[in-house]
Point group: C2
Chain length 341, copies 2
Amino acid sequence: MNQQYQNRQVLLASRPTGMPTKKDFEFRDIPVAEAQEGQVIVRTLYLSVDPYMRGRMNDSKSYIPPYNLNEVIAGGIVGEIVESKTNLFQAGDKIIGMLGWQLYNTVDAKTVRKIDESMAPVSAYLSVLGLTGLTAYFGLLDIGQPKKGETVVVSGAAGAVGMLVGQIAKIKGARVVGIAGTDKKCDYLKNELGFDAAINYKTTKNLDQDLEQACPNGVDVYFDNVGGAISDAVMNLLNDHARIPLCGAISSYNSTDDNMGPRIQSKLIKTRSLIKGFVLSDYADRQSEGLQELGIWLSEGKLKYEETIVDGFDNVIVAFLQLFQGTNLGKMLVKVSDPAK
Amino acid sequence: MNQQYQNRQVLLASRPTGMPTKKDFEFRDIPVAEAQEGQVIVRTLYLSVDPYMRGRMNDSKSYIPPYNLNEVIAGGIVGEIVESKTNLFQAGDKIIGMLGWQLYNTVDAKTVRKIDESMAPVSAYLSVLGLTGLTAYFGLLDIGQPKKGETVVVSGAAGAVGMLVGQIAKIKGARVVGIAGTDKKCDYLKNELGFDAAINYKTTKNLDQDLEQACPNGVDVYFDNVGGAISDAVMNLLNDHARIPLCGAISSYNSTDDNMGPRIQSKLIKTRSLIKGFVLSDYADRQSEGLQELGIWLSEGKLKYEETIVDGFDNVIVAFLQLFQGTNLGKMLVKVSDPAK
């Protein structure tokens, strides 16, 4: 073990039923493992908490295996190399990787990727220049394929993925309608990001009616982050040949009931619409294409991003649980430490 | 008016609520209109009754406009030219077209297409060599894209489209599981058409369990003709990257309730599956390709088709209503008259 650093990590202590609680997680203080030849020790700077992680806490088949009980939870992490036993990295390098929720990760150098601090703040690699940006990019452009003048509706619009989806749809010339859960978020979408309309689903008296008003020409693309009753309502406004990228269904992640709603098959037939679930790994071979275009839009000022940063490693569970209360504007991150260099 | 022939036609008298009844239709005896220059008079030989027609009886937006009240219902018809005022056709020619439910149609010659009696009995142009065959062909091959060794499930499997879907899937090397509503139909699918398994959804004690047994490797393609609880069950067995061509939802066509069921979004995300509504007109420019291949398979004996023929024009409503009781094996047709030549 390494004497210089003291590690602290988060384990999955039990599989949550419904909404997770702090009791489902356990903090553990242990030594940091020594770096072997070809390995590096990474100090965590920022750690990403994401809705999809809730699914990995269940013991059920999905696109990624479930977390194991009593093992460290893994997620997107930006970190700084503090010790390197490879010539691929040197101390001070900033990297990104899917690493453990802990203060230090001792890992093979090949499992992390160097990031360019000169292009954007390092935290951006956990949002617009990372999985979040790529998810918005491929889901919207590959499945949604918005065309100029079409109407794009995005749910979870003030979330990390949603706000990028809306902005990319605007870049492509679409009319963009966002659905979010507070007036503050709706104002932000309209005033800061240029959304054409935004609907507060929590305070609306009639979601169907508000949607119809916001989408006078129907819905051509529905980028779905939430599922549930919001999606039920959008499905009534589909135009012919509508496209629905299914990115998430956060409304159901903690649900323990059957999640019943109106069946959508007839609506899809009448409009010959397409609905497709996707995950980013489906586009593994096109990531550099996506990152390049996102980087260009970012540098041109066409793409804004927001971060909600919770301070301190010990608050990681609090931050994760806040995702399901919708308190975050943009990407939810935990700041764990400052870089040494 | 033409003195030689006496016409009889079926009008939509009222828009049905739920299951249509005979009172929603009206028979009318009128003279046959004279053929003008460029027109033909067609005697109806066979008339096609199809589930999609139920949707056109509602006054709601869909991929084809609703039938007008007090107008003749239109559908697929095979007929014989009895009078021609064009050199495109001569008396005795057999044609197919979307024509009125009546004994005689006086129409522009360009609205009908000559069929080849030497290739198959004329009624086949209303099933395997017509809209039915093309619907199976494009829905399965363009959206479903079954690969060798994959599992294809088809609901409404003993219906006109369903039994062709299963056979085409077999031609492509897939394992094929049919869902139908009588033991006789299930036996037919297995013994006559070579389906690998067939499930009687009306007598099964546990549809989920029977499906799991019939699909030990999960479901890669689900060709959906019925929607409802049957589709709910199939959705639990989707493999990664499953494809679901949505052809029909006959279980809901006469439903007056909200048609509630488990929401499918999470299942589609977990498996990154695609579900797409389609209608044949989406493939208008590829019809000859489809007809050619269907014709080859038919001539090679790889494709069998079945017809349930109800005799007599006056029984057209009876035949139409029987579609929703599932009494038909294969294509439901009404035989209206014998050809003169």
